[in-house]
């Protein structure tokens, strides 16, 4: 992957070591004209601070909310966003693609 946004993984490590609850959200599948390829990721800490991008801004707000739940529960979950999804009315991808985002807690045993 010839991209340059991977330093967010270093931020995830630093946050975790500083005692924050941290979640990692990663695009695992895309259909249609999804804005960011598989492997793109977003890291979120328990303050709600986030770095990176899974969609170029379309659905980050919703991902952050889900990530805070994942930090609390420790259980990973899969999210799906796209025009076919009912949540599209709220946080859909304007470009017409669909993406699946895997959200996991960092530091889970």
């Amino acid at each position: 992957m010839l991209n340059r946004d991977e330093d967010i993984l270093q931020a995830a490590e630093n946050w975790q070591k500083a005692g924050h609850g941290v979640a990692l959200a990663t695009v695992v599948e895309t259909w249609g004209s999804a804005p960011r390829p598989a492997g793109s990721s977003l890291v979120i800490n328990d303050d709600g601070t986030f770095l990176g991008s899974v969609s170029g801004g379309c659905v980050e707000g919703a991902v952050v909310t889900e990530a805070l739940d994942v930090i609390a529960s420790g259980k990973p979950r899969m999210l799906e966003f796209g025009v076919a999804d009912e949540t599209a009315w709220n946080v859909g991808l304007s470009c017409g693609g669909t993406i699946r985002v895997f959200v996991e807690k960092v530091g889970q045993s």
């Binding site: 992957m1 490590e13 695992v28 599948e29 390829p37 598989a38 895997f102």
Partner: protein, 234 residues
């Protein structure tokens, strides 16, 4: 993701070694595969293919849906020779996401006016190259036409196992170069690694067209399976 896994991913990335994280998306189970362990991994074929393409993605294996997250180092291009072709090659390579460095001891050539926004090192190869930590994820081209500059640069590229090594010059020029390099200790295998004449054969004439031919050849070397890349070159 376990903190230990994340720490290892970050350490491998910092060392510019590829790493792949395999996640079972049904339950979040994860393991990390380092580049050196891919060949012996049960998913070796799939992992090698994803790494070559530099692409992350889902696969199905043994009834499980697995996400392969590929972390490949940013590819670099080291250009020896701040010549006319390099002026076209540097921006083209950057648009393809390479980190580009230009080396040329001749300060009249290696001037910021000729190479805006490109890291330039106006030193001889023996001084300029070692600090660059050139590695396998580096494409290396020697374009000066001057043996005093190109030859030591190429010897350095052999040592660092660059994934692509190319040198400007006709077949005749290259035959002489091969003799000189062997006299300085290069093996037949080393010399055979040099792409010369440089670039895919597309009838390139202008410096920009030659730059396209070079980047096309580098892309083929990066992305195609090894055997196919050789056939293309033949």
């Amino acid at each position: 993701m376990k903190l230990e896994t994340l720490t290892q991913v970050n350490a491998e990335r910092a060392a510019r070694r590829p790493v792949i994280v395999v996640t079972d998306v049904a339950n979040g189970e994860q393991r990390l595969v380092k580049a050196k362990d891919i060949a012996t991994d049960p998913l070796g074929g799939e992992l090698a293919k994803q790494l070559r393409m530099g692409k992350s993605g889902m696969i199905e294996s043994g009834g499980k849906k697995l996400f392969l997250n590929v972390y490949a180092p940013t590819a670099r291009l080291v250009i020896v020779g701040a010549v006319h072709i390099s002026q076209a090659l540097a921006p083209l390579a950057r648009s393809l996401d390479y980190d580009v460095t230009v080396v040329d001891p001749r300060t009249a050539f290696a001037s910021p006016e000729r190479f805006p926004d490109v890291p330039l090192i106006a030193e001889w190869p023996d001084v300029a190259l070692p600090p660059l930590n050139i590695d396998h994820y580096t494409a290396f081209v020697a374009l000066t036409h001057d043996p005093k500059i190109d030859d030591p640069a190429l010897l350095h590229a052999f040592e660092r196992d660059c994934f692509y090594i190319g040198a400007l010059g006709s077949r005749k020029t290259h035959a002489k170069r091969a003799e000189r390099l062997k006299a300085q200790g290069a093996s037949d295998t080393d010399v055979a690694r040099i792409h010369a004449p440089i670039g895919l054969s597309i009838g390139a004439v202008s410096p920009s067209e030659i730059a396209v031919a070079i980047m096309a050849e580098i892309t083929a070397e990066l992305r195609l399976p090894k055997e196919t890349a050789k056939e293309q070159a033949a």
